[in-house]
């Protein structure tokens, strides 16, 4: 579904990605694990179009999207849940969710929007109690749920998740990963970037290890869980 070939990305002239090639097959969960500064977020931003100084091919359903701006890429069915949630803090929860459907927010799509809204509220019932609340006043976990909910409103076929576990309590992390699992079972393809390697490998089919802008290891998620190098570096021995 998504194929990245020899992707390089730069901050000014400093390379953040040094030729990364990965593939995300339709219907799967693919995880990318790596430490801080390995280039994980840069990789997701390059796919979603936020990162502009890059070279190499990004093929989505055989179409090269590497030159498209972010707002066009969403319309193709790729939604990113950015690192640090990045919800619209001054707007209400409902406004955040409505903006997720911005591209097709028209009267004739009303029933579809209502159906999708219902669905995200079923995934995250806590948000339904907070519809009128200003999003910036939500707790960290609720903000992460809102960020995922907002991305789901955009009719995504592929979701890019950037560190959904960051700064959250273990219980909330478990809840969020169970939602990721549910989403995948209903047919959404997921590319997940995580420092929490254990959670990321447990939910994934396939995984890559990214170190200083290069893929150093790849394989089935189950195999990587047992890989001694991965164990030592990312799973705490």
């Amino acid at each position: 579904m998504l194929k990245i070939e020899n992707l390089k990305a730069f901050y000014d002239s400093i390379p953040a990605l040094k030729g990364v090639s990965i593939e995300v097959p339709q219907g799967k969960v693919v995880s990318i694990i790596g430490a801080n500064g390995a280039g994980k977020s840069t990789l997701l931003k390059s796919i979603s179009g936020l990162m502009k100084s890059k070279e190499g091919g990004i093929l989505y359903k055989d179409q090269d999207i590497s030159a498209l701006p972010a707002n066009k890429i969403v319309s193709l069915g790729i939604s990113q849940v950015p690192e640090g949630r990045q919800i619209f803090g001054h707007l209400s929860v409902q406004d955040n969710i409505n903006l997720g459907a911005y591209l097709y927010f028209k009267r004739r799509n009303r029933s579809e929007i209502e159906k999708r809204t219902e669905r995200v509220y079923r995934l995250f019932p806590i948000l339904k109690k907070r519809t009128k609340q200003v999003a910036g006043t939500l707790s960290g976990g609720e903000q992460q749920m809102l960020a995922i909910a907002r991305a789901l409103m955009g009719r995504p076929e592929l979701i890019l998740l950037d560190e959904p576990s960051m700064g959250l309590a273990p219980l909330i992390v478990r809840e969020i990963f169970s939602v990721i699992n549910q989403l995948n079972q209903t047919g959404t393809t997921i590319l997940l970037v995580e420092q929490n390697a254990k959670a990321a490998l447990n939910v994934a089919h396939h995984a890559f290890v990214l170190e200083t802008g290069e893929i150093v290891l790849e394989g089935l998620a189950g195999e990587l869980l047992d890989n001694p190098k991965v164990k030592e570096a990312y799973l705490g021995g």
Binding site: S48, G49, L50, P69, A70, N71, V74, S75, S79, Q80, P82, Q86, I87, F88, G89, H90, L91, D95, N98, L99, G100, Y102, L103, F105, R150, A151, G154
Partner: protein
């Protein structure tokens, strides 16, 4: 002969102040729309008001178009100037910092002012009042009918803008750009288009202010800068980015100016606005209705 008591006189100052304040409020709203989407303080905001007044004079008083036609055409023309400002002065700047963009708006305001002087000369122009100049006596104050037009247009502008920002998805998308432009583009929002829209809206509101105030105070090519300063004073007084704050700030500033001019000296009229501006910056930089928390994370 009617007797004017001191109370009547104060009431007169109040009405005049509210009218002038309405114009400041409209300039302030224009500042806030652009600020809220881009964090830019558009210092060419006053030029939109000046252009509104002078283009209206040309279309209505010189070319003889009826009011009902000249009004919308003027608003459209000034809106186009606002769009050009974005396309020619703001968007082409590569790797912009907010400060660079603010400086670009100063340059644009000088160019607009110069062009206006070239076209209209340095003389002030008058515009016939919308519904005559027979003053109305009300509670002992003498009120020009045009005052009601100015205040009325402020009210209409505020209602329409509130509906736009609260009820439409485009209005929400504009607020989203202000909040987080990267996240907004991840929703499929075209941020550049929203910036263009913010400049258009501000220009249109500036034009309305200029058109309605010209019959009262005349209009000449270099009025923009002072209007921008007063409008900015209103913005700071009310709290940067807050629409209710802009209205409150504008009305308070106009009233202070009017009372100051009437009771102390009209020579210091412009100084009062600046004194208020400085006082607010000293004592309450977040403004009357601005949030202290938000003002801490603002870059300006």
């Amino acid at each position: 002969m009617e007797e004017f008591s001191f109370a009547n006189q104060l009431f007169q100052y109040l009405i005049t102040g509210l009218t002038v304040g309405s114009v400041y409020a409209m300039v302030a709203i224009g500042f806030n729309i652009i600020y809220n989407v881009t964090e830019i303080i558009n210092l060419a905001q006053g030029e939109f008001v000046m252009l509104g007044g002078l283009i209206m004079v040309f279309l209505h008083a010189v070319a003889g178009l009826p009011l009902i036609l000249a009004f919308p055409i003027t608003v459209i023309l000034v809106t186009l100037v606002g769009m050009l400002l974005d396309r020619l002065a703001i968007r082409p700047i590569r790797q912009p910092s907010v400060l660079t963009l603010i400086i670009a708006t100063i340059a644009a305001s000088i160019i607009i002012k110069g062009t206006a002087m070239f076209i209209w000369g340095k003389d002030p122009f008058d515009l016939p009042a919308f519904s005559g100049r027979t003053p109305i006596n009300f509670l002992g104050a003498v009120i020009q009918p045009q005052y009601f037009w100015v205040i009325g247009f402020l009210i209409v502008t505020v209602i329409l803008l509130t509906l736009f920002f609260e009820k439409t998805i485009i209005g929400k998308a504009m607020s989203a750009c202000a909040d987080n432009p990267d996240a907004a583009s991840l929703m499929g929002i075209n941020v550049k288009w929203m910036i263009l829209l913010s400049f258009s809206l501000s220009a249109a509101i500036g034009a309305v202010a200029g058109i309605t105030v010209t019959p009262i105070s005349l209009m000449e090519y270099d009025r923009g800068a002072m209007l921008a300063i007063k409008g900015f004073g209103a913005v700071v007084l009310g709290g940067l980015g807050s629409f209710p704050g802009a209205i409150l700030g504008g009305l308070i500033l106009g009233t202070i100016e009017s009372f100051g001019a009437g009771l102390i000296s009209s020579g210091y009229k412009d100084a009062f606005a600046l004194i208020v501006l400085l006082a607010v910056l000293f004592f309450r930089p977040s403004g009357l209705l601005g949030s202290v928390e938000i003002s801490k994370i603002k870059r300006f």
